[in-house]
């Protein structure tokens, strides 16, 4: 029998965006949304399911689901195998299937062995990781789960003396790399991330423009394009409907304040990880703080963290990854490709 061609895949199933990167050059990011038609009319118009941008665009005619919350599968905590869990798993699997379909767009599915590494939040529990395995069952042939910040570090070859800050939508993961697999003491996860900024921004605009009528989706895109903590940026105006009339509203201070809301937790996390590290190696860690994830695109954030580190830790050097959206998935792909075959085979035997 002819051996199947192995297709290596790196996946980042994010709260806001899911990303796939493959060794055949395909890379794709879609919003982590799935929509199911509300009635027969929308079913005829849209089909059984719509994904990503399409789901958001047709949100009035579909039931919109986001399978992940705070970096892990959305579920009812009281009942592990309850209805909410099963539903979230099915939705997440459909999303993953859609993502993986991009991978073999140009190749025949039955001739490929799909091998993937999925990034999980730094402090995801064993159950959270098992959820990811369950989601991948039947979609990927071989799968491994790895810590998301570790994937970022691996992709950047920063496995020693580096502090990774991965700012996603649901969580901000901080992880210090010191040449071994990071343990729980090396990692901090905070829930003040992109979604939190959206929430704060929404509240601040609501307070300032009480008559304005808008949703979080409307301001989310604006935030993604203009997020900044810098004091020297230009004035920012967003068009919001006030009594039905589109009105230009100044939100410069509100957006800056909302973006600032996640900074204290990040800098406190950095301080903790540096302070609890071996004193002889603390300098190396301070010199190599790396920002990744969608939140790292915030203008002025690295300067803000640097100035805080200067105040509290003496000094600090913060850099941003070039390809912030794909950094985690790129690292997962590299890990997937470099993982020796005997480990994959061993895993297969246990399945």
């Amino acid at each position: 029998m002819k051996e199947k061609k192995i297709l290596n895949i790196g996946i980042d199933l994010g709260t806001s965006r899911s990303v796939i990167v493959c060794d055949n050059g395909i890379r794709q990011a879609i919003p982590s949304f799935i929509g199911y038609p509300k009635d027969a009319v929308s079913l005829k118009l849209l089909g059984e399911m719509v994904y990503g941008e399409d789901a958001i665009r047709h949100r009035l005619s579909v039931k919109l689901y986001r399978p992940f919350d705070k970096g892990v599968l959305l579920q009812d905590n009281s009942d592990k195998k309850g209805e909410a869990h099963l539903k979230s798993t099915a939705i997440a699997r459909a999303l993953l299937r859609k993502l993986v379909a991009y991978a073999f767009e140009e190749e025949e599915d039955d001739k490929l062995l799909l091998r993937g590494v999925i990034g999980a939040p730094a402090l995801a529990t064993q159950n959270n990781k098992k959820d990811f395995l369950e989601i991948a069952d039947g979609v990927l042939d071989d799968v491994m789960i790895a810590s998301e910040p570790f994937c970022v570090a691996y992709g950047m070859n920063a496995l020693n003396s580096a502090l990774i800050v991965d700012i996603g939508a649901g969580t901000t993961d901080l992880c210090r790399m010191h040449g071994t697999i990071p343990g729980p003491d090396d990692q901090i996860t905070t829930f003040k991330a992109g979604d939190y900024v959206d929430q704060v921004f929404l509240e601040l605009i609501e307070n300032k423009y009480k008559e304005a009528n808008f949703t979080v989706n409307m301001i989310k895109r604006f935030k993604e394009e203009n997020a900044s903590v810098s004091e020297h940026g230009e004035q920012l105006f967003i068009e919001l409907p006030i009594k039905g009339k589109p009105t230009s509203c100044d939100v410069t201070n509100e957006l800056r304040e909302a973006c600032h809301a996640i900074v204290p937790d990040i800098v406190e996390g950095i301080r903790k990880l540096v302070a609890t590290f071996d004193p002889e190696f603390q300098d190396g860690l301070k010199q190599n703080v790396i920002l990744a994830g969608g939140g790292s695109r915030m203008i002025g954030l690295h300067k803000e963290i640097e100035s805080y580190m200067k105040k509290t830790l003496g000094y600090g050097k913060v850099t941003r990854v070039e390809d912030s959206l794909y950094a985690g998935a790129n690292g997962a792909l590299m890990l997937c490709k470099d993982m020796p075959d005997e480990y994959w085979d061993e895993l297969k035997k246990r399945k």
């Binding site: 051996e3 064993q126 990781k129 098992k130 395995l133 369950e134 491994m144 789960i145 790895a146 691996y154 496995l159 071994t180 697999i181 890990l335 470099d338 993982m339 020796p340 075959d341 480990y343 061993e346 895993l347 246990r350 399945k351």
Partner: protein, 139 residues
């Protein structure tokens, strides 16, 4: 005598003149006739020769087909010969215990593993094996 000579000269001249006039009439008639014949004959010739040309072309093509068929047959025979020779050679090779490449499993390309990273891979693989164990236990 002079009179006789003059008379004969005039007679010869008259004869020559008559001859030239006749020649002129004959030539002009012939030219007119030829022109008419060309004018009428050319289209007739064209129309009449179409079926004949067609037949000639078809015969030429048919000839080529027969010629080509012969060439293909020759090539097929040559390929058959080559295949027979290959099969005989393969049979000889297999007698000596050598297996045909198709039946062999392709040798896996060994990955270049960075020894420094090997402990990371081992730790990740072990964690995933453990997760699988737990998953099976739950089921």
């Amino acid at each position: 005598m002079k009179m006789i000579t003059k008379t004969s000269d005039y007679s010869i001249a008259a004869f020559e003149y008559a001859g030239m006039v006749s020649y002129s009439y004959i030539k002009r008639s012939a030219l007119a006739l030829n022109f008419g014949m060309i004018k009428i004959g050319q289209p007739v010739k064209k129309v009449a020769s179409v079926p004949l040309d067609y037949c000639t072309q078809q015969m030429d093509k048919l000839g080529k087909v027969f010629q080509r068929k012969n060439e293909i047959e020759e090539r097929l025979i040559a390929i058959d010969d080559k295949l027979e020779r290959i099969i005989r050679r393969l049979a000889d090779i297999e007698k000596s215990g050598v297996v045909v490449a198709e039946k062999q499993k392709p040798a896996k390309e060994k990955k270049q593993i960075n020894e420094g990273n090997k402990m990371f891979f081992k730790a990740i693989a072990d964690e995933n094996i453990q997760l699988r164990h737990q998953q099976e236990g739950n089921q």
